[in-house]
Amino acid sequence: MSWFHTRSTENMDEIERRDDDALIALSQVVKRFKNAAGEYTVLKGIDLTIREREFVSIVGRSGSGKSTLLNMITGIDHPTSGMVRVDGAYLHQMDEGAMAVWRGKHMGIVFQFFQLLPMLTLLENVMLPMDFCDMYAPEEREKRALELLKMVDLQGLEHKYPPAVSGGQQQSAAVARALANDPPILIADEPTGNLDSRTAERVLEIFEEQVAAGKTVLMVTHDDGLARRAARKLVISDGEIIGSENGSRGKLHAAEAGRAA
């Protein structure tokens, strides 16, 4: 089965119908940026579906469009054209305020450089998303944050500040924060890009544990070895998905597999 659709022969209705059970569905997503030198197309009509409980990795070189693609799925940026549906919601039809709350409840996002608030303890950082989205009773939030920090092996460091712990520990705390509101989807943009290989391995293990626990994980990386740990690896190049590989036992489909169908 191909995960890709031929843009010229399928209409939106067919894609809609086929992707009904998809947790994340992108159809014909185009993103153009304008700068002084003219117009530049970063995403050239992306069709993509991701199902519940899938662990999907996206690999590609710097500038291939992978971060832009993630920004389309998280709603951080808007497509020039095309449709993005995540967990039943048409993301880009929401206004910014509604999207922020929706995102806070449905997605946890992990970044390469952690992006923890430096002047708050790890515990306070993990409690923040619950405070913002008003999830869980106020008296339960600390208990839940402590449990999440324990789950990512940070017991005993809860009251430390981010700059006083290692990069790997900061990233583990960022994963705990991403899970604060128990979102069904975890999205990670180069989560191991700034970590040594042993620490990177631990972060990957945590993602695998989350998939086993029912989460859907989407990870962008340029580390092919880590990407192969996912159930499905997508290759993006020059704004297009040019290949898909199933797990470490899978085989890279021919670049045109989807389009030739």
């Binding site: 910014e96 922020a100 450089f113 992006q115 430096p118 002047m119 998303p129």
Partner: protein
Amino acid sequence: MRDVTKAYHTAAGDFYALKGINLTASRGELLGVIGKSGAGKTTLVNMITGVDRLTGGEVRVGGVSVHDLDENSLALWRGRNLGVIYQSFQLMPNLTLLDNVLLPMDFCGLYRGRASIERAYALLESVGLGEHVNKLPAAISGGQQQRVAIARALANDPPVLVADEPTGRLDSLTAEMIFSIFEELVRQGKTIVMVTHDRALAKRMSRVVELTDGQITGEWNRETA
């Protein structure tokens, strides 16, 4: 800083990241700290901000002995008196630029309600981001994110800014823009301690100390350089 030491306990024994630092910065000074990776620069920043505890010595900022404060008083004192800027920006990803700048005001209570929102707008305007206030950090460039981090650091109008490699992940043109904001802030009376390994930028600071293996091994004044 007086006789400041910081030891980390490791399996191989105690490791001293700082070995007796004596350092002063005057009001309105732009003090640079240079040194190689591993020299103790970030540890030194952590001692000034109090996000990590020292092993020996004393750190005084604006007359307050930082490490004598308990955790709660320290957090409040820090929020009102220090603005801290990091290499990787560390903005809250799911909050707009405006909300990121509002956060320190919400925590410290110095500016509230409408006054805090107007102040956040004005700060973002002052770093050239007035048109982007409702964007999320991931939707803007690294240089723009660092400018938001500066606006956030200024939220409670602290007298002192501490910056740990603030231009380390920026191209030279963007680094220049960030540094010129620092120069302007010093003209306005702020005191800035900036860690960097960019020697060209360091030359433009009023005073620079060099850190090697946890000790100060050199000092230059711009006047004497």
